[in-house]
């Protein structure tokens, strides 16, 4: 019974993720795409739970759904007429774009089913403590570089989004 319920929830997250990602790509209105992206990110967080990545699932919800998606929705509100369909919100070059996309999809599916994956027995245990240790030992240099990158992005985004003071003189 529990097993069946787990399978149902797993498939529910898979369908939620892929289905709302298709809405993101094929819907003509940007604001609907943004809200569909919410469900895609939520579905990926659910899949992280099935992969025994509890810390990542929580970070995905907090950072992506709480931060990045809020930024994107603000961006939509500030730049697009929300319910008014303009030419810029439709999709273009669909058939030209399909050629490389179908090619890449075929390669990925071929590799997925023919490669000899070296499977191990997956371990399910809390990851937060060992992930913290990993960030301060193996990944110490990328961790420090990422902090500098975040500082640079913070200052750059502030500088870019402020109105320029010298524009009034011209």
């Amino acid at each position: 019974m529990i097993e069946l319920l787990t399978r149902a929830i797993f498939w529910g997250f898979v369908i939620l993720t892929v289905g709302s990602a298709m809405v993101v790509v094929f819907n003509n209105r940007v604001i609907y795409s943004a809200f569909a992206l919410l469900f895609t990110l939520f579905g990926v967080a659910g899949l992280y739970v099935f992969l025994a990545a509890d810390f990542l699932a929580a970070s995905q919800l907090l950072i992506y759904v709480g931060g990045i998606l809020t930024l994107i929705i603000f961006g939509v509100f500030l730049t697009a007429r929300i319910y008014h369909l303009t030419i810029s919100e439709q999709t273009h070059q669909r058939f030209i774009a399909l050629i490389p996309v179908v090619g890449i999809a075929a390669i990925l599916i071929y590799v997925l089913f023919t490669a000899d994956w070296n499977m191990v027995q997956p371990a399910v245990e809390p990851t937060t403590k060992s992930l913290g240790k990993l960030l301060l030992t193996t990944y110490l240099v990328p961790f420090e570089v990422a902090s500098v990158l975040l500082l640079a992005a913070l200052i750059g985004a502030m500088r870019l989004s402020r109105p320029r003071e010298d524009e009034d003189d011209q």
């Binding site: 993720t17 940007v30 990110l41 191990v120 990851t127 060992s130 992005a153 989004s161």
Partner: protein, 102 residues
């Protein structure tokens, strides 16, 4: 034999090709950014899947943490640039912004 491993990699592949399609077919800059977010998510999902099923350690999850950090920084800077483009050109179409000097 299709296992959870194959299903999760398939979801990653589907997210990647959908994001690629979004980047290639959209003109609105924010839609392009959403496509990039889909691609980053697919990469992170693949890293976590491989680390869980084929490596048995947490290195892939560490990489996924860095992917989330990069996505946050990228979204903030990209939206600041888009707002500037919108203020100057009154449009958020990526192919209208073809001048370096604003």
């Amino acid at each position: 034999m299709i296992s959870d491993f194959h299903i999760l990699l398939g979801v990653g592949a589907a997210l990647f090709i959908l994001g690629l399609l979004c980047v290639m077919t959209r003109k609105n800059a924010i839609s392009v950014l959403m496509g990039v977010e889909l691609i980053l998510n697919s990469a992170a999902l693949n890293f976590v899947t491989f680390s869980h099923y084929t490596a048995g350690n947490l290195l892939g999850q560490g990489t996924a943490v860095f992917i989330i950090i990069l996505a946050a920084a990228e979204a903030a800077v990209a939206l600041a640039i888009f707002l500037n483009i919108y203020r100057i050109l009154s449009t958020a179409e990526v192919d209208k912004a073809d001048q370096l000097r604003g």
